[in-house]
Symmetry: C2
Subunit: 250 residues, 2 copies
């Protein structure tokens, strides 16, 4: 069986999340199950078209990552599909950035708290919630899968890195620095349970969040990040990689 028999992606209705879904479906040996989580499946027309052309493979489930009351329900729905095989890969992709907030002068408590909630706190809690399913996958006996038996990827950013020094001070950087520390620390905690953690930097991509000025196309960025995930091993867990496979310094 190919690596990652089952994959769950948050924020999957558009941008990088939707592109991940498309590219995993197009693999020569696609995953047996893909779970595309998004806030509003009704409005996710592209996802729904994909789901109808991939019955039994692509499942579109509703999840607003900032609403913890929805967590148990969505984990149960995923569990009902994967059963004892568990979940092999969780991609924490959902995030936000209100580009109006570049300066401390423009920062408000609501905006700061909301960015930490969506970009840092919710990915931690979503991961915590899926741990029982990831542990089931880690307990499978197929030793050839190695670090790929059970893994958590976080879509983070080089903007959360201290080096190189980017002369930019904004709310997004703070939340991604914290998320990078989550990646760094969580891999150490989950390693004994057979669960790998990895961070991904997509580059500056043309998306609704990245804007139209980004130099990279979605399909190019995700092709590179997907390769990083498919090559995940003991040597690169707990680290941050950009779209071209280069490891980034924190």
């Amino acid at each position: 069986m190919a690596a990652f028999s089952s994959i769950c992606i948050t924020g999957a209705s558009r941008g990088l999340g939707l592109e991940f879904v498309k590219q995993f479906l197009e693999l020569p040996q696609p995953p047996r199950h893909i779970f595309a989580l998004c806030r509003n499946p009704e409005a996710a027309s592209e996802l729904r078209v994909l789901a109808s052309s991939h019955p039994g493979v692509l499942n579109v489930f509703q999840l607003d990552i900032s609403d913890v009351s929805q967590y148990d329900g969505v984990v149960q729905r995923v569990s009902d599909v994967v059963g004892d095989a568990g979940l092999n890969l969780l991609i924490n992709n959902a995030g936000m950035y209100n580009k109006g907030i570049e300066s401390i002068k423009d920062m408000t408590k609501d905006e700061l708290m909301r960015h930490f909630e969506v970009n840092t706190v919710s990915p931690i809690l979503v991961t915590k919630t899926f741990l029982p399913l990831l542990r089931k996958a880690a307990a499978q006996t197929d030793e050839s899968a190695g670090a790929k038996k059970a893994a958590v990827a976080f879509v983070s950013s080089i903007l959360g890195c201290f080096s190189p020094n980017i002369p930019k001070n904004n709310i997004y950087r703070y939340t991604k620095a914290a998320l990078n520390m989550v990646i760094h620390g969580l891999d150490i905690e989950l390693q004994p349970e057979g669960i790998s953690v990895i961070g991904l930097h997509p580059g500056w991509v043309k998306t609704d969040m990245g804007g139209s000025d980004g130099p990279l196309e979605k399909d190019f960025s995700v092709r590179g990040l997907k390769k990083v995930l498919l090559e995940l091993g003991e040597h690169n867990r707990g680290k941050l990689y950009q779209y071209d496979g280069k490891e980034l310094n924190w």
Copy 2:
């Protein structure tokens, strides 16, 4: 005049904050004004005793840093004392750590949000609120003060650093990694306004927060951090220093 004619410290009723107040009062040339901010001045008996023996110098004002509705009032009270001279140094010392939360298994949304609120978001907002007074100090004509004319210090931690790798995953590390990014980015933003930013790592100190196992005494740690502040210059702004004067890698 000695460096830092006026100093404002949050979380000043105990631990490192109270020790900063004591040691600044004991300087051969103490600041003209020290503002000790704390949540509950009524209960801060040590501060009140100090204030009565240093009338006109030590002012104890009430501030819960997580209650933004109190900000304007406390800034007005400080402004009434310092007038056009402005505020020379703000020390963002208040912070929290619920030591029960070391593992992702124990993390809840409330605890995560509360730690980010107190350790990261509130220091940003307190700093934003004091900017007008810091700008007044920066506009003073005493060129000999240099980077010390107007400065903001954040009490952060090596636990927020990525290097060296500490095999510990906890809520405190995430919030201090984000705070370190604030220090890093904010100095770049405030430099053109003549305001310096610096980060301080107190070490593991015997305090209510650090517990009784810490190897360092409060007076030792703060003596070193005070020296870092008094030696603040263009060469060390925007960086993180530990109690012995050593610069830390992020």
